[in-house]
Point group: C2
Chain length 212, copies 2
DNA sequence: TGGAGTTTGTGAAAGTAAGCATAAGGCTTC
DNA sequence: GAAGCCTTATGCTTACTTTCACAAACTCCA
């Protein structure tokens, strides 16, 4: 697949939006074709931006016509790597952990949380959705047998670095971190921080300064 | 308070990180002063970036010395608007809603979820943390009496627009949206989307393309 | 007091991302 | 099959963000 040498980070953040929008169109509309204008309107993104983003990966549209919904959806799935299912292990069976396990939207994006780990002896053995909570002693075996590459951290900030080290020792390649702290990881490990406090703080900031 | 005419969006996203880092230093270290170099190192941000970000709002440091931890913390709290407490109403008492209510980190950032709304009759009357779930019929009264400006949407995408309209009708000024959909709102209403699927998809993308 | 060593604040330069303008292809109608 | 109207793809321009470079201010020590 074509792929330009340099692709803006912001473009990569928009691709999932395009994908999800196409899925919606595919499910609820009978249009076979969609224009960059319409796609953009639905997402609040200028049409030139939509086209430029897609152009980094090839020519998916037909001039004078638009983009074929199903084809573009498939292409985007392949670009994003969500044309296959990625098993993942989640650490932390608290409220947030349970919310993540039960969140329906992830399945569609290729994420499948297959295992849940917690250090709390009271929680081990309990069910979270269909999954039985296990001890971190089992982590390495779980990662190996399922060939898991993604670890999800949903523990308090104070425990996050220890969990990170455990995950990496077990062979994890990438970490989705919900703890509000910066993780130290070896070269080559991908970390994505999902810091909810930043979101609310930036909202409060805008509320505070709105009329000045 | 000084504030430059134009401030990069990215700067505003970093301010909460500085604030939280200062809080940690203030709580666990005895240093009274911190340099932009150290602050940056702890967060993985270049020191010049730290200084530039702060400089949009004034001169907080002393040359040759650094920044006084407590003073800078106070200044940032004021800049971010988190020197006061912001009451908020959350709609959607599902797993995610419960996780948000019980998340400890928000309190420190000025957010206090005071009320929870759900349309599910089975959930109304139940407790989420210390809060009793109420019907959307009570929304307007809740918002008025508590002078709530922030609404949090933790319902499925299909219900999100209806909830948005309700919140705005009740007098809400800003929305923190966890539903994976774009909300249509009148001029002047602030919306912040917290789209978890984007995070995991971008992680999978990087995992997919890592070695090419 | 003065010189060496720090560290901030900021204008200027470099690097990144978005938006514009236009060429090229495609459909429809007469 | 040609004119008119769409829509994509993309080089170029404009706008935004980060990084650099250095003056200014402070500390410490001889």
């Amino acid at each position: 697949m074509k792929r330009s040498d340099y692709i803006p980070k912001a473009t990569i953040e928009r691709l999932p939006l395009y994908y999800r929008c196409l899925e919606k169109i595919s499910a609820y509309e009978e249009d076979e074709v969609v224009s960059s204008r319409e796609l953009g309107e639905r997402l609040g993104i200028p049409p030139t931006q939509v086209r430029k983003d897609l152009s980094y990966y090839g020519e998916f549209g037909r001039r004078g016509v638009g983009y074929h919904v199903e084809d573009l959806k498939k292409s985007l799935a392949k670009i994003l790597g969500i044309n296959k299912t990625w098993p993942a292990v989640l650490v932390g069976a608290g409220n947030l952990g349970r919310a993540l396990v039960n969140y329906e939207g992830f399945q569609k994006m290729g994420l499948q949380i297959t295992d849940v780990i917690d250090s709390d002896l009271d929680k081990i053995g309990n069910k979270v959705g269909d999954i039985t909570v296990r001890s971190s002693k089992d982590l390495e075996e779980i990662v190996k047998t399922r060939q898991i590459k993604i670890g999800i951290i949903a523990v308090p900030a104070s425990a996050a670095q220890d969990v990170t080290d455990l995950l990496i020792a077990a062979g994890i390649k990438s970490i989705w971190n919900f703890a509000p702290t910066r993780l130290v990881v070896p070269e080559g490990i991908i970390v994505r921080n999902e810091d909810l406090s930043v979101g609310i703080t930036s909202l409060i900031y805008h509320l505070t300064w709105k009329n000045e």
